[in-house]
Amino acid sequence: MPMRIAPKPLSKPRRQPPKPAPTYRGVRLPSIDGPSRFTRDQIRKAVATAIAKHADEIPRED
């Protein structure tokens, strides 16, 4: 008689700790959740590229 093996209970997926909300000069920024054509990663990459391109022109923090 074949032995029955009870299915192993599925382990609960570990909940990732929530990412801290982005801040700007100490102020927590609101999240814009409306419809957009772009993912956050796409925008982040475009901003990073623009900052790198103009790095020499960006004034230093006083």
Binding site: P22, T23, Y24, R25, G26, V27, R28, L29, P30, S31, I32, G34, P35, S36, R37, F38, R40, Q42, I43, R44, K45, A46, V47, A48, T49, A50, I51, K53, H54, A55, E57, I58, P59, R60, E61, D62
Partner: protein, 190 residues
């Protein structure tokens, strides 16, 4: 103005948020007002346009609806806070004399003036925790100038139309993501 509101941790809302040809714009605006406890009205744009030589007067009824809500609306609306902006001091005495005596702010049609007025007003009315107040107007203005300098390249990086034609939601999301990155870039400078 939207840049400053975002920099102060608030979400700017306006009729541009909703694209619905079947909706009456004024309905949308009044509904948004009832959903927000803070509102800003810039009544400075009264110059005639180039095509019809007539001024745009949308701001006057919108301001009237806001003040009406505050004066005669339900109890939940009586604590509304309103900022009225104009380009010149006391010009509204001639163009909108019904609000004479109200304490309006003057931005002088300058970007720095708008940022200062909006930031200072939100600092007082935005209910910030102690130590979490928004940055000063000068810092926000400096970061705005950096953003403005980068804007065309950001739009190009996203293969977008010219920056000035961005849909409102896209603009807000870009600003939300760009603000901390610009701050970090400026702080990283030797």
């Amino acid at each position: 103005m939207c840049f400053t509101i975002m920099a102060c941790g608030h979400i700017p809302r306006c009729a541009l948020d909703i694209s619905d040809s079947g909706a009456v714009r004024f309905d949308i605006i009044v509904k948004m007002m009832t959903e927000c406890s803070l509102s800003i009205h810039d009544i400075s744009r009264v110059e005639p346009d180039k095509v019809f030589n007539l001024p745009r007067l949308n701001m006057a009824p919108e301001l009237g609806a806001d003040l009406g809500l505050r004066m005669q609306g339900p109890a939940s609306q009586k604590r509304r806070k309103t900022l009225i902006l104009d380009a010149e001091a006391h010009r509204y005495d001639r163009t909108l004399s019904d609000i004479s005596g109200m304490d309006i702010e003057v931005h002088g049609n300058s970007v720095a003036g708008v940022i200062r007025c909006v930031r200072d007003w939100l600092n007082v009315n935005g209910q910030f925790a102690v130590g979490k107040e928004p940055a000063g107007a000068a810092a926000i203005h400096a970061d705005y100038q950096v953003y403005h300098h980068l804007a065309a390249d950001i739009a190009e990086g996203l293969r977008l139309d010219p920056h000035d034609d961005l849909p409102h939601q896209d603009y807000l999301r870009i600003v939300e993501i760009a603000l901390p990155m610009i701050e970090a870039a400026r702080r990283a400078k030797p």
